[in-house]
């Protein structure tokens, strides 16, 4: 389809909203289509955000929302909770084989999940993005070497890599305190998996942006490489970051759960973790005890779905390859008379 189709007029666009200035003006500008989204992608974005928000609230206000602590197995009178009891008034989602409350595990589990994922995403972003920027911009043997290493890492089964790293990191973060060391080592093992993804995406877009005339223009203006990367390249690749970050967060959550399921994640004494809970529930499933597995699994599915929906709708809105302007229905009026207009202009 020719461009003339989609923008059948070369006339100046009416006054644009003022977009903020400063270093991240590029990002803000790049995200403008999100604010202007309508129709399906907007709703997908809303649903995704709502799902994520629920778990964020759970994570922040866990002690207030959760009826019990995740390690608690005695009620107020010192009586032990029933083992693997079906959902009831006291335990909305029942209890599990460890005599703890399933609902409390869900609430505290969101805290663990979000902590680990946030740390992992931030660290892998901080390492992967600059590496991709410099590798892509300068090219050369360093770039080729990095690409080979990153590709090898990317091609290697991610869960396996995470397991190996988790295995190696066991007990290495003791200095952070008992409850946080497990989270940190889980986060680090996941980080290793996701650095190549940021690297690849950023590097590839840097390589295409690098060839743009405006980057060459900046060099001809006499800008130093640092300035070119910071002011001309970064601003035009940064829109990829939110997309990768959300999609990777979703994937990281699954990796965390996988680690927990295999026993290489956060230890049950340190924090509540859905993957570990599912491992404990596995043996009971054949016996028909469903509540210990269905609820934690559902929590994972909902949070991952939420993050994926956010990521996918951002991708739909920001990725120029996928973006398409949807034509609206229109009525042809006979002549010069009234021009039919949509109300929202």
């Amino acid at each position: 389809m020719t461009s003339e189709f989609m923008t059948p007029t070369a006339a100046p666009v009416p006054a644009q909203r003022q977009v903020g200035r400063g270093r991240f003006a590029g990002l803000r500008r790049a995200l403008a289509p999100v604010a202007e989204a309508r129709g399906l992608p907007k709703w997908v974005l809303y649903v995704g955000c709502a799902l994520v928000l629920v778990f964020v609230v759970f994570a922040i206000f866990a002690p207030w929302i959760s009826p019990y602590s995740f390690t608690q197995y005695l009620d107020g009178h010192g009586h032990r909770f029933p083992k693997s009891a079906p959902p009831n008034v006291h335990h909305w989602f029942g209890t599990n084989i460890m005599d703890t409350d399933v609902f409390s595990h869900i609430v505290y589990g969101s805290r663990t999940a979000l902590e680990v994922v946030a740390i992992a995403v931030v660290i892998s972003m901080l390492l992967g993005v600059p590496l991709g920027l410099f590798s892509g911009y300068y090219g050369g043997p360093l770039d080729r070497g990095l690409v080979l290493v990153m590709d090898a890492m990317f091609a290697f089964p991610s869960l396996l890599l995470a397991i190996l790293i988790a295995f190696l990191l066991r007990g290495k973060f003791g200095f952070l305190g008992a409850s946080f060391s497990g989270i940190m080592s889980a986060a680090i093992s996941i980080t290793v998996v996701y650095i190549p993804q940021y690297f690849r995406v950023i590097r590839n877009s840097v390589i295409s942006v690098r060839e743009e005339p405006y980057v060459e223009a900046a060099r001809i203006l006499g800008a130093k490489p640092r300035t070119v990367i910071g002011r001309y390249v970064f601003g035009n690749v940064v829109q990829n970051v939110p997309v990768i970050a959300t999609l990777n967060a979703a994937d990281a959550l699954l990796t965390l759960a996988g680690l927990g399921f295999l026993g290489y994640g956060v230890q049950p004494t340190e924090a509540a973790e859905w993957g570990y809970d599912l491992q404990r529930a596995l043996g009971e499933a054949a016996g028909g005890i469903w509540w210990t597995s269905v609820y934690p699994g559902l929590a994972i599915v909902l949070l991952v779905t939420g993050l994926t929906l956010v990521g996918e709708s951002l991708n739909d809105l920001l990725n120029p390859v996928l973006r398409h302007r949807q034509l609206l229905p229109v009525n042809i009026v006979d002549d010069e008379g009234e021009v039919p207009r949509d109300d929202d202009a």
Partner: protein, 351 residues
């Protein structure tokens, strides 16, 4: 208000007759009137040039007459091809016409061939779709002959698209459009992406096509030089409408519409001695100017121009022109022919 008049009566050798065609797109800002009341005829074996600035609806019109528009585009009016109206025709029937009767030649030949298919496969696919009764050998023969007429040697028949240069790919695209000998072909800026020598080669080929294939061509271009080289008649399009239509020699010699005149003057050619340009830019087709759409940029605008849309009149040189300068005088209100006063157009409105 005025009803859209017939530009001229339909002659018996007319292949395609477009009547009051409108193509609008709905966007968030409003309806884009890409094509807004266009009528013209194309005769057998004739090349009609369609010229205008970018964004005036040329490409949309070209695809519109072939029914190749996005589903959401709204089309009204008539496109009569050998008596059948293509507007409102079933998809199936339309598809069966594309290829054997209607063809399209594109602007960028580099991307128009499927990179994973050999040139031969493109031809066999097309022939098999529309003439399944032919034997494989007949199809090969037919394809090689058509390619040969475009200057592609038979030794290259089974090559992949990436093994050809831009000019050769355009020749292949033309051969592909003509292999079934269609009665009508739209050529949408067929030489814009090519170098000047290759452009001249392609223009020669198009001239041969007209001679050897008896095909009518609607040649869309923004280059008046190409119109002069290749077309018998020319339609000048502005903001979704046809401003002037007539014999190419007459239009170039004595442009009737001020837009045509200005366009000719702003073309830079080897014989140009001074620079000239049209102030301002083509209008936003969502809210086009009232009356004559060219009036804000027209040096000859009169007070009637923004008030009423000019009807089509025929000049003594047989040019159809929609401009109040040519009347009809009886429809101009009293005092309507006084010069229009308005502000100067700044660069702020420039294209």
């Amino acid at each position: 208000m005025t009803t859209t008049p017939e530009l001229h009566h339909v002659r018996p050798d007319t292949v395609m007759s477009v009547r009051d065609l409108r193509i609008w797109y709905g966007t968030a800002r409003g309806a884009v009137r890409a094509v807004d009341g266009v009528s013209f005829d194309i005769r057998r074996g004739e090349t009609l040039g369609l010229v205008g600035e970018s964004g005036c609806g040329k490409s949309t019109l070209g695809r519109g007459v072939l029914g190749l528009l996005p589903d959401a585009a709204k089309v009204a009016g008539h496109v009569l091809f050998e008596g059948e109206d293509l507007v409102g025709m079933s998809r199936r029937r339309l598809r069966s016409l594309r290829g054997p009767q209607l063809g399209l030649i594109f602007q960028e030949p580099m991307t128009r061939l499927n990179p994973l298919m050999r040139v031969s496969q493109h031809f066999l696919e097309t022939l098999r779709t529309h003439q399944p009764e032919l034997s494989k050998e007949q199809m090969r023969r037919r394809a090689i002959d058509t390619l040969g007429a475009m200057g592609i040697p038979p030794t290259r028949f089974t090559n992949y698209p990436h093994e050809f240069s831009g000019g050769m790919r355009q020749r292949i695209m033309i051969a592909l459009a003509l292999v079934l000998n269609p009665a009508f072909v739209v050529a949408d800026e067929p030489t814009t992406a090519l170098d000047v020598l290759v452009e001249a080669q392609i223009l020669t080929i198009l001239a041969d096509v007209k001679r050897n294939f008896d095909t009518s061509i609607l040649l869309i271009t923004h280059n008046l030089g190409i119109i002069a080289e290749a077309c018998e008649r020319v339609a000048v399009m502005y903001a979704g409408r046809i401003a002037e239509l007539g014999d190419a020699r007459a239009v170039f010699a004595r442009p009737a519409h001020p837009y045509t005149r200005e366009l000719l003057a702003s073309t830079i050619s080897l014989s140009t001695t001074s620079l000239h340009y049209i102030p301002g830019a083509p209008p936003d087709l969502i809210a086009p100017p009232s009356g004559c759409r060219f009036h804000p940029r027209c040096p000859d605008a009169m007070t009637v121009c923004p008030q009423r849309h000019p009807p089509v009149v025929t000049t003594e040189l047989n040019q159809d022109v929609a401009c109040w300068l040519h009347g009809p005088d009886d429809q101009i209100p009293p005092g309507g022919s006084a010069p229009l006063e308005r502000e100067a157009i700044g660069v702020a409105d420039e294209a």
